[in-house]
């Protein structure tokens, strides 16, 4: 069916359903993805690189639509909920001290 027009009366074709879409859904997706990568230890620069890369469509679409300032704001907002960064340059945060 790659080059054929969609036929609404074709019983085997995709059954359309209405789903929540638009800005709120995309914002929620971006917020969740930022949270995921913060939780595995990514830093702000690493996250911004993901946002800026067109191949990572979910984040790039947000970056393109909202702009870099809005993305930085989103990352800061999520970081405030989940704590501080775990990546600092080439070494562990705080020089590896304080871990139990």
């Amino acid at each position: 069916m790659t080059e054929k027009a969609f036929e609404p009366d074709d019983p085997m074709a995709l059954v359309g359903v209405i789903v929540d879409a638009g800005d709120p859904a995309a914002d929620e997706m971006a917020r969740c993805l930022v949270e995921e990568y913060l939780r595995v230890g990514w830093d702000e620069e690493g996250l911004l690189r993901l946002f800026r890369t067109p191949f990572y469509r979910a984040l790039y679409a947000i970056y393109r639509d909202r702009g870099e300032e809005a993305v930085r704001g989103l990352i800061a907002e999520v970081a405030a909920t989940w704590g501080v960064w775990r990546v600092t340059g080439g070494g562990p945060r705080g020089g590896g001290e304080g871990d139990a």
Partner: protein, 417 residues
């Protein structure tokens, strides 16, 4: 027809063969929330197993972008539609009947693909067309097609309209089901489930290429090889599972698609199976914990009735009705548990993709509290616990903390060894 117990459905169901279960079962948990769709798993599988003549269209592992994508195209929508036609309005659950390991998601009240099978067939299914197999990621980036011809490119193809809503990447391979539809449908009994690890294989000598497995499997993972004229499917990298990989002789290691995941979304292992087919209670097994204790990982389309053995942590941002249809009624609980993870869950999530060696047990050494916040109106604290993964013989294979430091390679040495 014999009756077998399907704990995903919380009830008995009709199946071609009587119950007989393996001692261990190949199983995996995929965290959809972390997948960026890089297709490294897909290429790891392709370059290992399906690069021969007749296998050109085969992607034993594929990653499709939902809700638009599918390989073969529309595989799940078509099967859901067939089930709806056979049992109108039947895809319903009764979640009030949840009961521990026997019925963790409640009881499914509709028909399975086996129970909805037409006369003379073992399972309800269909054969995808050649066109549906042709392009594994068709329409995922753009919602419309454009006419092409050999050697011609669309002049403004890069300007095609995009889907502008939520989406997520769904990682798919053979589920090595407990009650495989492919196995039930094979008229030659060429498909078998190994007693040692539950891996489902096609005997290439017995298969005569009738494609009943391709038709019956709802996940569409058996594929017909037009060159050898027999069907093939994911073999779960069984030499690695058997410990025959020279990297770790004697130690079972993860399949190629699992070991290659750069997003650290996959955790694969072997779980012990009781004689009655339930997962043996194994509290410190990471997969048992994720599926039966934390209950954050759910089967894909459990209503089909095959009791698949790949489990998914559902994506949090997707509308719930869509997720409930895809992963059953356990979705709300799974997302709640994952969004504000318990201390133990946070530690176990660290084990994903940290070693190729299979982890059979874990233990946690408590660490100090490092952070406090409020999640969904409730206090939540993070502890820097240490999680230790152990192999089949109880030897330590990996150790890491919840606040595991991440070392960023300097830009000038990105590809240095």
């Amino acid at each position: 027809m014999p009756e077998v117990y399907n704990w995903h459905l919380g009830r008995k169901m009709a199946y071609r063969f009587a119950e007989r279960h393996p001692r261990w079962q190949f199983a995996a948990v995929f965290n959809i929330n972390r997948c960026i769709g890089c297709q490294t798993c897909t290429m790891a599988c392709k370059s290992t197993w399906t690069h021969a003549r007749g296998q050109e269209y085969m992607w034993w592992n594929n990653v499709e972008t939902k809700p638009y994508g599918g390989y073969p195209q529309f595989w799940d929508v078509k099967t859901l539609e067939l089930l709806e036609q056979a049992d109108p309005g039947g895809q319903r659950w009764n979640p009030r009947t949840r009961d521990g390991r026997d019925a963790p998601y409640g009881v499914y009240e509709g028909k399975t693909l086996f129970e909805a099978a037409p006369a003379g067939e073992e399972a309800l299914g269909y054969l995808p067309t050649d066109e549906e197999w042709r392009a594994p990621n068709i329409y995922e980036d753009t919602p419309t097609a454009y006419p092409t011809a050999p050697g011609r490119y669309h002049r403004t193809g890069e300007q095609l309209p995009e889907h502008r809503t939520w989406f997520f990447h769904l990682q798919r391979l053979c589920n090595h089901c407990t009650y495989p539809a492919c196995l039930a449908a094979c008229p030659r009994q060429a498909i078998y489930k190994r007693p040692e690890d539950g891996i489902v294989l096609i005997d290439q000598r017995r298969c005569r290429g009738y494609r009943k497995c391709v038709e019956a499997c709802p996940y569409k993972k058996p594929m017909f090889n037009a060159y050898t004229r027999v069907s093939e499917k994911c073999i779960a990298c069984y030499p690695r599972i058997e410990g025959r990989d020279p990297l770790h002789p004697g130690a079972p290691i993860e399949a190629r698609c699992m070991a290659a995941c750069v997003g650290k979304i996959r955790l694969q292992g072997l779980v012990r199976i009781d004689a009655d087919g339930r997962w043996a209670e194994d509290r410190q097994h990471p997969l048992y914990f994720l599926v039966h204790v934390a209950r954050v990982a759910l089967p894909l389309y459990p209503q089909f009735g095959t009791q698949p053995n790949v489990y998914y942590i559902p994506p949090r941002w997707v509308p719930r009705p869509y997720l409930r249809q895809m992963f059953g009624p356990g979705v709300d609980r799974a997302i709640a548990a994952y969004t504000a993870p318990s201390r133990e869950l946070l530690a176990v999530l660290q084990l994903f993709r940290t070693t190729q060696r299979m982890i059979f047990r874990y233990r946690i050494e408590p660490g100090r509290k490092v952070f406090e916040t409020t999640l969904n109106g409730k206090k939540w604290a993070m502890y820097n616990d240490t999680v230790i993964g152990l192999d089949q013989r109880g030897r330590e294979v990996v150790r890491l903390t919840v606040e595991e430091p991440v070392f960023a390679r300097p830009r000038q040495h990105l590809n240095s060894i």
